[in-house]
């Protein structure tokens, strides 16, 4: 029991748990992407920048308005979601009738502009943000020290994923949304304002990214590039799970977090590559992704 495949068991369990924690971030970010793609058919490349904005708004609230972490969890998604609404109204809504590629290019460009503006304003090295006093410290699990804050992230992420899934699959608004994706003209004929619904959906997807950004602010350096590294992995997660599949993105997010965690033990140099190897295999065998509809 002391060693598994030549690796001390405590180390292995520790890495599994850490993988799960990273998976929580992947799941939360890919969830927002999946919601946006599923409903709007837009591949939102601004997502990484919006994740970063969430963290920065948390920092601004603390340093400029004196509002701490708990307020930031509520206010930052609203503020960043509002900027999402503006972007959708003024730009993205004009591209729905065109090929996916246009939406992708537009959102990619908007993301670069946002990152550039933050870099000019705040520099590239980042801002400090503390773990809130209530969540400091760690539990001794025997095989490793588990920081309380990381446990909190996992729980919050699971709750957020469940809530999103419930809203879309089990509520009336969710059913309108799903219907509008299938046949917007018909849903509009029933008197439902489809364009407004699209706008709010984009805002909600963006708010999820910002929410993840606030969760990340105390653990990672709050800097303008913080979303850029993560977003590439998150896109792979979405592709593996199946574009637009909410269940797929959540399950894949957690699973890939664990796979990546294990790779870090057995072959650390390959830990950033393993996700893309999985992606290649999935695309070769199931081009629509694990949970996608062909």
């Amino acid at each position: 029991m002391d060693e598994i495949f030549g690796i001390p068991a405590p180390l292995l369990f520790g890495q599994l748990l850490l993988g799960l924690i990273n998976g929580a971030f992947y799941a939360l970010l890919s969830l927002g992407l999946a919601v946006i793609f599923g409903m709007l058919n837009v591949i939102n490349f601004t997502h990484g920048a919006q994740f970063m904005m969430g963290a920065f708004v948390a920092w601004m609230l603390l340093n400029w308005a004196g509002l701490g972490y708990w307020w930031a969890l509520l206010v930052a998604p609203l503020v960043v979601g509002l900027t999402g609404v503006i972007i959708e109204k003024t730009m993205i809504s004009r591209l729905y009738k065109l090929d996916h590629l246009y939406g992708l290019l537009l959102t990619f460009g908007v993301g670069l502009v946002i990152e550039g503006v933050f870099r000019n304003e705040f520099g590239s090295s980042g801002m400090p943000y503390r773990i809130p006093a209530e969540l400091q410290g760690s539990w001794d699990l025997g095989f490793m020290f588990m920081p309380i804050y990381r446990g909190w992230v996992v729980i919050v992420a699971i709750v957020a994923c469940l809530a999103t899934w419930l809203v879309i699959e089990k509520t009336k608004i969710g059913s309108y949304l799903r219907a509008a994706t299938e046949n917007p003209a018909l849903v509009q004929a029933f008197g439902i304002n489809v364009p407004r619904m699209m706008t709010l959906t984009y805002g909600a997807g963006v708010a999820l990214a910002a929410f993840a950004g606030v969760l990340a602010a105390p653990i990672y350096s709050v800097n303008p590039q913080m979303g850029a590294n993560l977003i590439i992995i998150v896109f792979a997660v979405v592709v593996i799970g199946g574009m637009g599949s909410i269940l797929g993105s959540v399950v894949t997010g957690f699973t890939l977090g664990v796979i990546e965690g294990l790779t870090k033990v057995f072959w650390p140099e390959a830990s950033s590559t393993v996700i893309f190897v999985v992606m290649a295999i999935v695309l070769l065998t199931r081009p629509a992704g694990l949970f996608g509809r062909a």
Binding site: L11, S124, S125, P128, P147, N223, K264, V265, A270, S271
Partner: protein
């Protein structure tokens, strides 16, 4: 202000026109090009601040008999982009390229400067190979290098009983060099390296997995052979997982902007090695007062101060030999720079060795706690001072082909 490749081309065109004008005025123009990271992770420690500090040197020198012009461009940390910009600049009349963080880009440009017989004054890159196997008669390495970092922080921690190490290393040339140089000091002092985790660069955000491995190794010291955001994220993870209670954290390359990003709560007690700190003495404080407003109200960082020191000494050498002779032969300018003793407000008196290594005192600092600090940027306590001869690699050990014994 950022300049991309197209911007640099436009600047080049303007420059060609300027060269004509200069001839008409019969007052030669010396052109300094600051080639740096204007948009990536090293921007705050180098970048626009390096331009500001180069301009400060020009202002202080107040050239007589020739004009001085400062240009800037962004190499995006890519050797191909940097090499292209350097070729264009040198071909269009730029006499000296300054700064150039990122070791791979710096090594490429050192080769180009030699080929075109121009001058390359490096401040931002870390690799000690610039004055080692790849040294050049056209290159001066001004501010710091991996050997001096390893000797400063690494050796100091070994001396205080930290004799078993675990490294978290960025998996590329710079990380490997820093781990190699530090390992040498650890082993020379009778210590041992118990393990290392090499993580993919730059695709890593979360360091908790490596921090947990480090803890499992039961080493006394965690050596971080990385830089900038990666170091900040590693330290944050180490503190979160309680590592700082059982291990010493050795941030082998960390500067004042990283401490600012980390915050003093998390940074308190860290040891780090720098050759410049704005609050070191009266001269550094006076320099900081002169430039602070232009530098976005921040004191200069070490690499930025290096651009000031290097530019000032270069201009003195040009004035000494005459601008026409200086423009014609980069190698002769560097030879003159080596022959003249250096002195500036950032580094004090010093000299440039025949392999191109600039020698000046190096300082080991301890990061203050939040209570000791009187405000933003008051971050360091001086722990030890090493002379230039002690801190940098002995001339004979560098394998520089210019040095023949």
């Amino acid at each position: 202000m950022q300049i991309n490749r197209r911007g640099a081309l436009a600047a080049g065109a303007a420059l060609a026109a300027g060269a004509g004008a200069a001839r008409a005025q019969a007052r030669p123009t010396i052109r300094l090009g600051v080639l740096s990271d204007m948009s990536g992770p090293y921007r705050d420690a180098t970048g626009p601040g390096s331009v500001v500090m180069t301009q400060a040197a020009v202002a202080e020198f107040a050239a007589q008999g020739f004009q001085v012009e400062v240009l800037q461009a962004d190499h995006q940390n890519r050797p191909d982009v940097g090499a292209n910009l350097a070729r264009q600049w040198y071909d269009q009349g730029v006499d000296v390229i300054l700064d150039v963080p990122t070791s791979s880009v710096a090594l490429a440009i050192s080769g180009i400067a030699r080929e075109k017989n121009k001058v390359f004054l490096n401040s931002g890159a870390a690799t000690s190979d610039l004055t080692g196997p790849q040294c050049s008669p056209n290159t001066v390495h001004w501010t710091y290098d991996t050997y001096m970092l390893a000797k400063g922080t690494g050796a100091a921690i070994v001396r205080t009983g930290g004799d078993t190490w675990f490294f978290i290393t960025a998996d590329y040339a710079f990380g490997h060099a820093l781990q190699r140089d530090t390992t040498r000091f650890v082993e020379a002092a009778g210590g041992r390296v118990l393990g290392a985790a090499r993580y993919p660069f730059p695709a890593t955000t979360d360091f908790s997995a490596y921090v947990v491995q480090a803890r499992a190794s039961r080493a006394k010291v965690l050596g971080m052979a990385n830089a900038s955001t990666d170091t900040v994220n590693t330290i944050k993870a180490a503190r979160e997982f309680g590592l700082h209670r059982s291990m010493r954290l050795a941030a082998l390359l960390m500067g004042i902007v990283d401490v600012h990003a980390l915050g003093l709560d998390a940074g308190e007690g860290l040891l780090l090695t720098e050759s410049f700190y704005w609050d070191l003495n009266d001269r550094t404080r006076a320099l900081t007062r002169r430039v602070r407003a232009a530098n976005q109200n921040r004191p200069p960082a070490m690499v930025q101060a290096g651009c000031y020191g290097a530019a000032l000494h270069y201009l003195k050498a040009v004035a000494d030999m005459g601008p026409a002779a200086a423009k014609a032969d980069g190698r002769a300018v560097v030879a003159r720079m080596k022959a003249m003793p250096t002195d500036d407000d950032a580094f004090g008196p010093g000299r440039i060795r025949e392999d191109g290594r600039k020698l000046h005192p190096v300082y080991l600092f301890e990061v203050k706690g939040p209570r000791e600090s009187t405000g933003p940027w008051d971050y360091y306590k001086l722990a030890a001072t090493l002379s230039g001869e002690e801190a940098f690699r002995p001339l004979a050990e560098g394998n520089c082909p210019l040095v023949r014994s």
